[in-house]
């Protein structure tokens, strides 16, 4: 059924369709509508779940870990500072092999306070072992909730679903939603092989020395690698049942393209328009949308970018002391397999600054203007008057 809804509510209805049994969350702008709508669905009996309204995000993640360990399907949602507070427990969910799903609304990290979108909150959880999927539309947000549970429960790892603050969270779009009855074939009830049960008393997570810990980490690594194929299968099956697919990455007009622009999140939608315009003007550019960030789709990136003339990457994030995080990951994927194409790394849109068609055109012009990058990192749109004020 098609409904007009904001991205946050698309999450809530995805959770309802997934028949989540335990929810725990703490409110933070711009995530609040997710938990408000879930509270209403629980209160109205439209979702049979326990909602534990905790006193912090750290406790929210701990509670869903407990619920998942007891064998229930569990969900939490947060943003920015809340995700950072959860950090310790993200590692815990991974190590305990619990497939909880977390929706993170990308929001800049303070100080100074800023409630608008950028990716530093989620990308700084890069090495926790949580899967990460970045969404572009509210439809993709709804669909990805179901995909996240399907993938996570097959590899027994937690999954983070990421959506941009305001551009998705608070923007209404048409979303084709369905309920649990239609979802069940795609997402059967969660039945873990092991869970906390007095019938089968076991200790989970007790002290483990160098003789065993190493292999436990190796198994997480392997299951993360396996998650790439599992995510592809989850997307194929989703298309078979519901007629929509996203890929773990998506190519847009890459046929015959010399230069590929790489984006993630809602910048992608703007970039599609710019690519169309540049193509019409006879410039051989294409687009690669990064949807799955962890595990990193190394082979897909090599396949799409291999043999091109140049690549330009837009990062709505900054790794201080290094550069854009997606750019670093893409360089790393291309290195050592004979691909020496010039990579132009652009920072844009941090703290919710608009990434307009003109910004993307400027990025493509810079990429076109020299054979090799002239800077390690290009910061687009830095205001000189702001800088001179700051250095006074």
């Amino acid at each position: 059924m098609k409904k007009v809804m904001e991205g946050n509510h698309a999450i809530s209805y995805g959770v309802q369709a997934s028949e989540v049994q335990v929810i725990s969350a703490y409110p933070i702008t711009p995530q609040t509508q997710i938990v408000e709508r879930l509270s209403e669905l629980c209160a109205g009996g439209e979702l049979d779940a326990k909602f534990i309204k905790v006193e912090s995000e750290h406790s929210a993640m701990a509670a869903v870990i407990g619920a998942s360990a007891a064998g229930a399907r569990a969900f939490t949602a947060t943003s920015s500072q809340g995700l950072l507070l959860m950090h310790e427990m993200l590692h815990w969910a991974v190590g305990a092999r619990l497939p909880v799903v977390l929706a993170n609304v990308n929001r800049a990290v303070g100080p100074p306070w800023n409630i608008w979108t950028d990716q530093n909150d989620s990308l700084s959880q890069r090495d926790t072992g949580m899967l990460q999927l970045y969404c572009e539309s509210n439809q993709e947000v709804f669909d990805t909730v179901l995909q996240a549970y399907r993938i996570g429960e097959k590899v027994m790892l937690p999954v983070m679903l990421v959506l941009d603050a305001f551009f998705l969270s608070h923007t209404s779009e048409i979303v084709d939603v369905f309920g649990p009855d239609e979802a069940r074939e795609y997402l059967p009830p969660y039945r873990p092989a092991e869970s906390l049960s007095p019938e089968s008393p076991k200790a989970f997570g007790n002290l483990t020395g160098p003789d065993n810990y190493y292999e436990l980490r190796y198994s997480i690594f392997n299951d993360m690698q396996r998650a790439i194929d599992v995510a592809k299968e989850a997307d194929d099956e989703f298309e078979r049942l519901f007629g929509r697919r996203y890929g773990i990455v998506e190519e847009y007009r890459t046929d015959g393209a010399d230069t590929i622009l790489v984006t993630s999140g809602t910048v992608t939608s703007t970039a599609r328009e710019v690519v169309d315009e540049l193509r019409d003007a006879g410039r051989a550019v294409g687009l690669l949308k990064m949807r799955l960030f962890r595990p990193f789709p190394t082979h897909e990136v090599r396949r799409v970018l291999g043999g091109r003339r140049k690549v330009a990457v837009i990062d709505r994030n900054i790794g201080f002391g290094v550069g854009g995080i997606f750019a670093q990951e893409i360089k790393s994927a291309l290195w050592g397999v004979g691909e020496h194409l010039p990579l132009f790394s652009f920072i844009a849109g941090i703290g919710g600054r608009d990434v307009t068609p003109d910004v993307i055109k400027e990025i493509m012009d810079i990429t076109d203007s020299s054979e090799m990058p002239t800077e390690e990192v290009y910061w687009i749109g830095v205001k000189d008057e702001q800088l001179s004020y700051l250095t006074k």
């Binding site: 049994q21 326990k50 912090s56 750290h58 407990g66 049960s197 007095p198 008393p201 997570g205």
Partner: protein, 299 residues
């Protein structure tokens, strides 16, 4: 309480990794006799995360979920909700934390769970310092005590946090203090707690010979002295209001307790007298609360 029959069934096994004379180990053994096998335990970082034994061993015959230091109460809340959603409404969920995981780093999550009246039993086995990491002070460490982070002459300069009052302020259904020197009473209190639904808090006094610099063979004697000196009164509080204080025990001077422990070896007579006075004031205050709102029903 004298008629209570303690189960002969041992859910705690030999082969655990506790120090000699460990009070926390006795606390677990007695608690499990009342809790029974339909129990799931959530354990944050504490001595017991080591005592239970390394992978693939465990020293208790109930499921244990080890969790991060500050999350005993929040993880236990999730476990209870998860079990209920799977149709298991019988299993007792217990958070089993040390004083650090209760008084300090775990206090926020504990307060949250208490305010929500989660259907769990939160147990604090209190050995009055961070013993697992090698005897550092916690907010449960008493005034004047030596620890590795309160070395002489910078001995603990503040009194022990009044945890009981914090829990009372949450108005939860059941609070009790218990001691490993009174196993029949301890078992009875866990049995009482098990039959109540909602948030229950049991504060178990558990001496630590390693950290207190006391001979391992006097653990039970120290635990008894803590009660008889009224440093650690045995009591119950229901609904955050109604008190029952164990009064019919002999009164011993605080000095008898202090003098047996190396951690108090620098404590002078004047300081001991001040502590005695403070203990008496606290005791009178407790009796007044009990007089004001005495527990009517026998539990």
């Amino acid at each position: 309480m004298s008629n209570y029959h303690i189960s002969q069934n041992e859910l705690m096994t030999s082969g655990h990794l506790a120090c000699q004379g460990c009070g926390a180990t006795q606390a677990m053994r007695f608690a499990l006799k009342a809790l029974g096998s339909r129990t799931v335990m959530v354990m944050p970082a504490c001595c017991w995360s080591v005592i239970d034994g390394p992978f693939p061993h465990t020293a208790v015959q109930i499921p244990i979920f080890h969790t991060a230091f500050e999350t005993a109460a929040s993880t236990a809340s999730g476990v209870k909700a998860g079990l209920q959603m799977r149709g298991d409404h019988e299993t007792t969920v217990v958070a089993w934390a040390g004083d650090g995981g209760t008084f300090d780093i775990g206090l926020q999550a504990l307060s949250g769970a208490a305010e929500r009246n989660e259907d769990i039993i939160f147990v604090c086995y209190d050995n009055e310092a961070y013993m697992n990491t090698g005897v550092q002070r916690s907010s449960a460490t008493p005034l004047g005590a030596w620890t590795t982070t309160t070395p002489y002459p910078h001995l603990k300069s503040r009194p022990k946090k009044r945890m009981l009052d914090i829990l009372v302020a949450h108005g939860i259904p059941y609070i009790a203090t218990a001691s490993v020197a009174y196993p029949d009473d301890l078992v009875q209190k866990f049995y009482t707690a098990r039959k109540i639904s909602g948030m229950r808090f049991i504060h178990v006094f558990a001496p630590c010979p390693t950290g207190w610099k006391s001979p391992p063979e006097i653990t039970v004697e120290l635990a008894r002295l803590a009660v008889e000196t009224r440093l650690f009164p045995l009591l119950e509080v229901t609904d955050g209001k109604y008190y029952r204080v164990w009064k019919d025990l002999p009164k011993r001077p605080v000095r008898d307790y202090i003098k047996l422990q190396g951690r108090f070896s620098r404590m002078g007579d004047e300081e001991i007298d001040r502590i005695e006075q403070e203990v008496e004031e606290r005791w009178q205050e407790l009796l007044q609360r009990e007089t004001l709102r005495e527990m009517k029903t026998s539990s």
